[in-house]
């Protein structure tokens, strides 16, 4: 079985031929494209470790069949940050110690970036906590995660305002 598929991953267009329609986007990234930053914690959409952006929206890549996203733009943790510089959310996670073991971290960061882009939570910590609840952290770094997302969002807003000023 040959299933052709075209994806733009972290800005790079990739022509892929899959031998199996059951390959999830997560397994495609991890097992076939060596993009292992995205993690598999449950494979059932219950933990959020596999969160990536598809056409700018955060989704669980474990629940997405690769073939159903032909033509999509995918952003993974490897595509975040520019020219070796950390993205604001990444830097804030380090500063606030928003992780311990680090396994859920790529998913948390992608989810945080998605959340900021969605713009629904604003600077209300309660809304951030609610909207980050799809990303489990067994180490319990939630306080740092919430602080990091809020701080990064405020930094990004400030940067945007400077640019437009």
């Amino acid at each position: 079985m040959n299933l052709p598929l075209s994806l733009t991953i972290n800005g790079v267009r990739r022509e892929i031929t899959l031998d199996d329609p059951r390959v999830t986007l997560l397994d495609l990234l991890r097992e076939r494209l060596d993009l292992t930053g995205t993690k598999k914690g449950c494979d059932r959409g219950q933990c959020g470790a596999c969160t990536v952006l598809v056409d700018g929206r955060r989704i669980n890549s474990c629940l997405a069949l690769a073939v159903s996203h032909d033509g999509a733009e995918i952003t993974t943790i490897e595509g975040v940050g520019r020219g070796g510089e950390l993205h604001s959310v990444q830097a804030a996670f380090i500063a606030h110690d928003g992780f311990q073991c680090g396994f859920c971290t790529p998913g948390q960061i992608m989810s945080g970036i998605g959340l900021i882009q969605e713009g629904q939570a604003g600077d209300d910590p309660e809304r951030v906590r609610e909207c980050m609840s799809g990303n489990l952290c067994r180490c319990g770094a939630y306080q740092g995660i919430t602080e990091a997302v809020l701080e990064a969002q405020s930094n990004m807003t400030a940067t945007k305002q400077r640019r437009s000023a």
Partner: protein
């Protein structure tokens, strides 16, 4: 309003006109699953969501839904969260959707494309109670495809008094133990019309028409809410270790009615559907 089956849950909930017209539906959507899942989940998919009954998923257990005639291991199993309404000896599973609960309250209609062409079905008739044939979960036939969902224009008349409340075992990202959607049309200090549906209590989202009748014409006050709650659960009986759900369902009905009467909040609360996003006292 007509909503295509492939519209994503998040897009629908955040659509300004939709949220203004059907706030309880938007709140129910946002109380379900996680932000990531809502970005992927579709309207049609959510209607077809299957039960969370563990025995249905466990290949080592007997389940009539999965294997007709096999028996129901949930019946004498670990069933504190199972159905209290409309269940049969053959199946005590519940329907897990949040979205569908306010939808049935508002008489949503499903558009189906099938072998015989296009037809419509009230959402309330889509999901089936188990009876003797728990394996038949919906009224869909082989070859049917849900193409759209319609909400009647009249449902907008409830927009000022509509809530969805959901009791969970986590603050977020958990299925409902019990939930309720309540809505009113209030005119001249009286309830002109009430809508009420419950989630997590039966194999389908449960429209509580008896309770609606109790409320119609009454003044909104705690006593009538309690009476409506009793009416809504009058036919309930425990299917196992879950008698508390009957009590809890009555209380959540009273709460949802109280909050609906108080008025739809300007903005969907920080914790959608959560008891902790509103004032507690009924």
């Amino acid at each position: 309003m007509r909503i295509g089956a492939l519209v994503r849950n998040a897009d629908l909930a955040h659509d300004a006109e939709f949220a203004r017209s059907y706030p309880a539906v938007a709140e129910a959507l946002l109380s379900g699953a996680s932000a990531q899942l809502r970005n992927a989940a579709t309207v049609g998919g959510n209607l077809m969501q299957r039960t969370r009954c563990a025995y249905f998923y466990d290949a080592g257990s007997a389940c009539n839904r999965r294997w007709p005639g096999a028996g129901c291991d949930a019946l004498k199993g670990e069933n504190r969260l199972h159905a209290v309404l409309g269940w049969s000896e053959g199946c005590i599973a519940t329907h897990p959707s949040d979205f569908c609960v306010p939808l049935v309250a508002f008489d949503a209609v499903v558009e189906i494309e099938g072998k015989g062409g296009r037809r419509e079905l009230p959402l309330e008739a889509l999901h089936r109670l188990p009876g003797e044939t728990p394996e038949r979960e919906t009224a869909l036939e082989r070859g049917d495809l849900i193409v759209a969902l319609r909400l009647p224009t009249e449902a907008k008349d409830f927009a000022r008094h509509a809530r969805y409340i959901k009791v969970r075992e986590r603050t977020s990202y958990a299925f409902a133990v019990v939930s309720a959607a309540a809505a009113f049309r209030i005119e001249g200090g009286k309830i002109r019309e009430a809508r009420l549906a419950l989630g997590g209590v039966a194999a389908k989202p449960w429209r509580a028409r008896e309770a609606e009748q109790v409320l119609a014409g009454a003044r909104p006050d705690p006593a009538v809410y309690r009476e409506a709650a009793r009416a809504a659960l009058a036919a309930a009986k425990p299917s196992g270790d879950n008698a508390f759900k009957i009590e809890l369902a009555q209380r959540i009905v009273a709460r949802a009615l109280t909050l609906a009467a108080r008025g739809t909040p300007d903005r969907i609360p920080a914790l959608p559907g959560s008891p902790f996003s509103s004032v507690a006292g009924a």
